[in-house]
C-alpha cells in the first residue's frame, strides 16, 4: 500500500496525546479523545463534546503508520463544504464499532444534509399517515416542507410573484427584480395579460388574433377598467403604488389585477390606512 493513505486527521493530533483506543478482538478501534482542542469542531461552536473521529480511519489508525501528505483544512474551517461537516457529525460517532461487550452511550443523532438519501417528498411519511383521518383539505402539515405556495420564490437573482387577473383562469408569474418602478410593472401586466384576456373574450380565437386586443391601462391610478392590488406579508390586500417601490418589493407576496368596479367590495383592510401612511 502506498503512502496514499492520507492521515490528515493525525496531523491535527498533538504527538504527545494518545487517542484512547478501544480495540476489540477484530482490530476495529475508535478513538475517544476528550480533548476539545483536537476536536475537529465540525459543528457550530459551543456544540457538545462528543468525540469526533472520522471516516473509517479506525482500522488504519491502529497501524499508526504514514503521514498525510495532503493538506487538510484546519479545524475551525471544517464546517464549510457540506455534509460531513455539519453539526451532528460529532454526535454520531457513538455509533462506531460496537463490540457486543461494550455499552455505548447513546445520544440523539443530529441531521446530516442529504442523509439518508431519501427525496424530500418521502420524508414526512410518519406525520402524514397519522393525519390520514383528517380531511384532505387540511393542508398545512402535509404540504411538502419547503413549499409555501403564496410566498414569492427567489430563483437565483429573481423575485417571482404570482399574478392573477380577474376573468383569466391562467395565472402568470412576474420577476419583480426586473422592474424598478411601478410604471414598468404596469406595462408588464399589460404584456402578460392582454392576449389572454382577448382570448377569454373570444375563445375561438386560436392563433392569429381575430379581434383586436385591448391594451390594459390605468391599473395604478384607478382610472382603468382594472386595478392592480397586492397581498403583503401580513396577508392584507393593498393598492399597488402607494409605498416606495423598494418597500413594495420587500413586502409583496402576490399580485392581482381586479376589475375596478369591484374594488369597493373588496376589503382593502381598514387597518391598512395606518400602514399605508408610514412610508
Amino acid at each position: 500500500m502506498e503512502s496514499g493513505c492520507s492521515k490528515k486527521l493525525l496531523d491535527l493530533i498533538p504527538q504527545e496525546k494518545k487517542w484512547g483506543f478501544i480495540e476489540n478482538q477484530n482490530g476495529i478501534s475508535h478513538g475517544s479523545s476528550e480533548e476539545k482542542k483536537l476536536e475537529l469542531k465540525l459543528g457550530p461552536p459551543g456544540e457538545e463534546d462528543e468525540p469526533l473521529v472520522s471516516f473509517g480511519y479506525f482500522s488504519s489508525m491502529k497501524s499508526n503508520a504514514k503521514q498525510a501528505h495532503n493538506k487538510f483544512p484546519p479545524a475551525q474551517e471544517d464546517h464549510r463544504g457540506g455534509a460531513v461537516l455539519t453539526a451532528s457529525w460529532a454526535k454520531n460517532h457513538h455509533h462506531q464499532p460496537k463490540p457486543p461487550n461494550c455499552s455505548q452511550k447513546r445520544t440523539a443523532p443530529g441531521p446530516v444534509v442529504g442523509w439518508p438519501p431519501i427525496r424530500s417528498f418521502r420524508k414526512n411519511l410518519a406525520t402524514t399517515s397519522k393525519l390520514a383521518s383528517e380531511s384532505p383539505t387540511s393542508l398545512p402539515h402535509k404540504v411538502a416542507i419547503e413549499r409555501k405556495p403564496a410566498a414569492p420564490e427567489t430563483r437565483g437573482k429573481g423575485l417571482f410573484v404570482k399574478i392573477n387577473m380577474d376573468g383569466v383562469p391562467i395565472g402568470r408569474k412576474v420577476d419583480l427584480k426586473s422592474y424598478d418602478s411601478y410604471e414598468k410593472l404596469s406595462t408588464a401586466v399589460d404584456e402578460l395579460f392582454r392576449g389572454l384576456l382577448a382570448a377569454q373574450r373570444d375563445p375561438s380565437a386560436d392563433g392569429p388574433k381575430q379581434e383586436e386586443e385591448k391594451v390594459i391601462t390605468g391599473v395604478l391610478d384607478g382610472n382603468g377598467e382594472y386595478t392592480l392590488v397586492y397581498e403583503d406579508n401580513e396577508g392584507d390586500r393593498m393598492l399597488v403604488g402607494d409605498v416606495p417601490w423598494h418597500m413594495f418589493v420587500s413586502t409583496v407576496k402576490r399580485l392581482r389585477v381586479l376589475k375596478s368596479s369591484e374594488l369597493s367590495v373588496i376589503n382593502l383592510g381598514s387597518s391598512k390606512k395606518g400602514k399605508m401612511v408610514q412610508n
Binding site: 495532503n70 464549510r80 457540506g82 455534509a83 460496537k98 443523532p109 402524514t128 393525519l131
Partner: protein, 611 residues
C-alpha cells in the same frame, strides 16, 4: 418503475462526436478505395438501402455503433435517428445536436446529477430546459415527445412546447422543477393531440390554477395522466369529465387530494385502466357517516386489466381489502407511501403471485418481508423505504428481512434496501441466492456501522456481491467499509456502471482501485469519503469514458482539481461552493465533472467555478 432506471450504453452517443472528428477524411466512405464505386448512382442506392435498414435500428447503443462504421453510415444514421437521448444536457449543445440529427421526433434529456435530489446541490445550479426548447422549436417542429429528468422547466417552456409543436403528444417530467400549475394549464389547453402527461416526483408549484379544467373539450386522446406528485387541490368534477371523455386512458395516477370516494367514481368511469395510482385512499370528511359506502370491491373487480397499483398516500388500512380482486393480476405494487403493518400486508401480498415489482415501507418489518418472500416468487424489483429516515440503532427491518427475500425471491434483479442494521452473512447469502442481481443498493442508515454480529466492516458482504453477481451494473454501498471493499469492487465489478459511495473507505487507494479496475464505470457519486487529489489523478485514463464524477465533502483541493482540468480539455470541472465558502479557498466542497464537447457552460451561477 425503478426510481432511476439507467441503461448501460457504450459507446456513448456524445463520445462519438469526438472520435468522429478524428476520423474525418480517413473514413472509408462508400466511394473511396474502389474505383468502380466512384460513380454516384451505386452510392445513392447504397444509402437508400441503408436508410431503410437503419430505420429498424432502435437501440441507441446499436445506433452509436453503426454511426462509427464510416462517414456514409454516420450520415444515414443521423438522418434516421428519431429518438435522441442525451444523458447529460451539458455534454453537448442544443445547436450541435440539432445540426447532426435532423429528423428527431422524441427527445430524452437528463440534467442534474442524482445527488441534487438530496439537497447536496444548491438550487439554481442549472440544467435549464429553455435553450433546448427553443432549439427544438426551430429544428424539429414535428417533435412529438419530450422526456426530461432532473431539469429545470419553466412555465414558459411548457407554453413553448404546447404552442410551437403542433403534433406534440407526450410529456414526461421526472424529478423536474421550476414550473407550476399555471404552466400546466397553458400546456394542456393548447396541446390538443396530447396522449401522455406524466409528472413523476417533480416539484410543481401551486399557482392556484385549475389546470385540469384547461384540457380542451371534446374527446381526448389521453392515454396516460400521472400527477401523483402534484401537491395541490384539483378540480375533481373537471377530472371526472376528463376521464369520461378519454376512452383510451390506460394510466391514471391521482394525487393525495383525491379521496377514495372520488377514486371510486373514476374507476367506474374507466375500468379499462392498466395502471392506477389511488390518491389518498382515505375518505374525505365531507362524506357523511350515514351515507352508503360505495362498493369499492366491485370497482376494483371491474378493472380486469389492472396490473400496476400505487398511491395509498394517506391510507386508512380498513379499505385495503378493496384491492383483493386485482391482486392476482398485479405485476407492480407500490406501497411506499402506505404506513401499514405486517398483519395488514399479509392478506394482500399472499394473493400477489405474479408480482414483479414491489415498493414498500419498512413499517411492514422483517415479518412482512418474510411474507413477501413466501409468495412473490417472480419478484424482480424490491424497494424498501424507511418510514422514519433517521439514524438509529434498531429499525423495523434488518438482515432477517434481507435473508428471507434472498431465499424466497431467487429471480431478484434489483433491490434498494434501507435499514439500520445489516450483517455480512445476509448480504453474502443474497449474493449467492440471487445471481441475477443487476442493481444492488443497500443503505445502512447509520454511518460507518459495522456488522453488528461480528463487529467487522461490511467489506466481505459487498465483496461477495461483486464476486457472485456477474451481471451487476449498479451498486450503492454503505456501512463501515475499508479500502478492501473497494479492492473487491475493482477486481470483480467489471460491469459496474453506476457506483454510489458515502462515508466509506480509508484512503485514496479505495478510489484508485475503482477507477483503475472498473472499465464500464460511467457514473460515480461519492460523498464524505477520505479521497484526495492523488486518487483523482488515478482516473485520468478513464474520465472521458464516464458521464460524470461527483465528489462532495472529500479531500480534494482546488489545485488538485485544476490539474485534472488542465490535463483533460474536454472535461468540464465544476467546483460548487456551499453558502459559507469563499471563492478562493483551496478546499473543494463539491466537485462535479463531466465530459463535454462544448467547454465551460455559460449559464453557471455564481457559486459554481469552472476550472
Amino acid at each position: 418503475m425503478s426510481e432511476d432506471d439507467e441503461r448501460q450504453q457504450s459507446p456513448p452517443s456524445d463520445l462519438e462526436f469526438v472520435s468522429n472528428k478524428a476520423r474525418n477524411c480517413n473514413a472509408t466512405g462508400s466511394g473511396s478505395g474502389h474505383p468502380e464505386f466512384q460513380s454516384t448512382y451505386p452510392d445513392q442506392v447504397l444509402e437508400n438501402v441503408l436508410e431503410n435498414v437503419l430505420h429498424f435500428l432502435t437501440s441507441r447503443r446499436d445506433r452509436n455503433a453503426a454511426s462509427l462504421v464510416c462517414k456514409s453510415w454516420y450520415r444515414v444514421e443521423a438522418l434516421t435517428r428519431s429518438e435522441l437521448f442525451i444523458g447529460n444536457c451539458y455534454a453537448v449543445s442544443p445547436g450541435r445536436a440539432t445540426a447532426r440529427f435532423t429528423r428527431v421526433k422524441a427527445l430524452h434529456l437528463k440534467g442534474k446529477p442524482r445527488f441534487a435530489d438530496f439537497n447536496l446541490m444548491p438550487p439554481d445550479w442549472g440544467a435549464h430546459f429553455n435553450p433546448w426548447a427553443l432549439a427544438m422549436a426551430k429544428a424539429y417542429p414535428w417533435l412529438e415527445k419530450v422526456h426530461l429528468k432532473r431539469m429545470s422547466v419553466t412555465d414558459d417552456d411548457l407554453a413553448t412546447l404546447a404552442e410551437l409543436f403542433l403534433g406534440f403528444k407526450e410529456l414526461v417530467l421526472v424529478c423536474c422543477d421550476g414550473f407550476g400549475t399555471s404552466g400546466l394549464a397553458i400546456f394542456v389547453s393548447k396541446c390538443r393531440q396530447l396522449k401522455v402527461l406524466d409528472l413523476i416526483e417533480s416539484e410543481v408549484s401551486d399557482d392556484e390554477t385549475d389546470w385540469i379544467s384547461c384540457f380542451p373539450e371534446g374527446e381526448s386522446n389521453l392515454e396516460s395522466l400521472i400527477f401523483d406528485c402534484v401537491e395541490c387541490h384539483i378540480n375533481f368534477e373537471a377530472l371526472d369529465r376528463l376521464v369520461a371523455r378519454s376512452p383510451s386512458l390506460k394510466k391514471l395516477k391521482l394525487n393525495r387530494y383525491v379521496s377514495i370516494g372520488q377514486l371510486y367514481r373514476l374507476m367506474v368511469r374507466a375500468p379499462q385502466l392498466t395502471h392506477l395510482g389511488t390518491g389518498s385512499f382515505s375518505p374525505s370528511d365531507i362524506a357523511g357517516q350515514g351515507d352508503q359506502e360505495p362498493d369499492y370491491v366491485a370497482a376494483f373487480a371491474a378493472c380486469r386489466s389492472l396490473v400496476c397499483l400505487s398511491g395509498f398516500r394517506e391510507i386508512i388500512p380498513d379499505y385495503l381489502p378493496a384491492i383483493y380482486p386485482v391482486c392476482a393480476n398485479l405485476t407492480s405494487l407500490n406501497f411506499s407511501y402506505a404506513n401499514i403493518t405486517a398483519d395488514q400486508l399479509k392478506p394482500i401480498i399472499s394473493k400477489c403471485h405474479k408480482l414483479q415489482t414491489f415498493w414498500v415501507l419498512d413499517s411492514i418489518c422483517d415479518e412482512g418481508l418474510q411474507a413477501v418472500a413466501a409468495t412473490c416468487k417472480d419478484l424482480r424489483e424490491l424497494c424498501v423505504f424507511p418510514v422514519d429516515p433517521r439514524e438509529d440503532n434498531d429499525g423495523p427491518v434488518s438482515e432477517v428481512g434481507l435473508q428471507a427475500i434472498s431465499e424466497g425471491c431467487r429471480k431478484l434483479q434489483s433491490i434498494l434496501y434501507f435499514c439500520q442494521r445489516m450483517t455480512n452473512a445476509a448480504v453474502i447469502a443474497m449474493s449467492k441466492n440471487c445471481p441475477d442481481l443487476v442493481v444492488f443498493r443497500l443503505c445502512i442508515m447509520g454511518r460507518h456501522r459495522p456488522d453488528p454480529v461480528t463487529g467487522e466492516p461490511m467489506d466481505d458482504g459487498f465483496g461477495a456481491i461483486v464476486m457472485n453477481c456477474k451481471k451487476l451494473t449498479r451498486l450503492a454501498v454503505s456501512g463501515l467499509l475499508t479500502d478492501k471493499a473497494f479492492d473487491y469492487i475493482g477486481r470483480h465489478g467489471k460491469l459496474v456502471c453506476t457506483l454510489s459511495v458515502a462515508f466509506a473507505g480509508d484512503s485514496d487507494m479505495a478510489l484508485k482501485y475503482v477507477l483503475e479496475g472498473c472499465p464500464q464505470l460511467q457514473k460515480l457519486e461519492i460523498r464524505d469519503s477520505p479521497f484526495g487529489d492523488a486518487a483523482l489523478r488515478s482516473g485520468l485514463h478513464h474520465y472521458y469514458n464516464m458521464r460524470f464524477l461527483w465528489m462532495s465533502s472529500c479531500r480534494l483541493t482546488r489545485h488538485g482539481c485544476q490539474e485534472i482540468a488542465r490535463a483533460m480539455p474536454r472535461l468540464v470541472v465544476e467546483v460548487i461552493r456551499s453558502a459559507d465558502e469563499e471563492e478562493m479557498d483551496d478546499v473543494v466542497g463539491t466537485l462535479y465533472m463531466y465530459r463535454s464537447l462544448e467547454g465551460p457552460r455559460t449559464d453557471a451561477p455564481k457559486f459554481v467555478t469552472i476550472l
